[in-house]
């Protein structure tokens, strides 16, 4: 399932996939895969993404 909240939060911070990838120390393709729902990140990567975007885990990764 696509993670549109991650995409929206990234766009809200005016960050490209590459910029976010550089901030969290992964490849651009990994960020793209998380957004597309092709890859389930580890909790460490989830936390790193949330910190980079100033969001909580619930904001980005919790399904309602």
């Amino acid at each position: 399932m696509k993670n549109l909240r991650l995409k929206a939060a990234r766009a809200g911070k005016d960050l490209s996939q590459q910029a976010l990838a550089d901030l969290v120390g992964v490849s651009r393709q990994t960020i793209a895969a998380v957004e597309k729902g092709d890859y389930n990140p580890t909790i460490n990567l989830c936390i790193a993404i949330c910190k980079a975007l100033d969001k909580t885990l619930n904001d980005i990764f919790w399904e309602d």
């Binding site: 120390g25 992964v26 393709q29 990994t30 460490n44």
Partner: protein, 164 residues
Amino acid sequence: MSILIQVLFLAIIVVSLVWGYKRSQDNHQYDERQELLQNRGYRYATYAMFLTSAAAVLFGEELSRLLNVSLVALVIMLAGLVTYVFYAVLHDAYFPLNKNNKLVSAGLLAFLALIQLLVVVKNLLNHSFSAYNGGMNLLLFAAFTIILIVILYKKHLDKKEAKE
């Protein structure tokens, strides 16, 4: 002479092990998704080597007319290598995070493939081509060319994706 080759072989093994150990210590080269996919690539490479080995046993008689034992071993190793590289490149797990100049790798592969091709052509022109004379070069040329094509194809896909 054979002792020299054995010592050289052992030296290559030791250097490879030390290099591999040092690389494994540097955990910032690949991210978690890349490592996961690389491990999957190694698994598929193992399956490919099992299948090639089984085929070599099943069709041993037919193969012995075309290839010698060392070439069959090379085919098995190349099947594993090409499978791993094919899978890792197509899933963006082949190049380390900070490696931007992927075309350098493609250039190096093209150079290696060209050298192998020159040896094959030279043997063909001299009418001396056989499994023992140039056969290994033909197999290496095929493997390097396949890997090169996959890298260039992936580069093309990345460009297309960036435009979108």
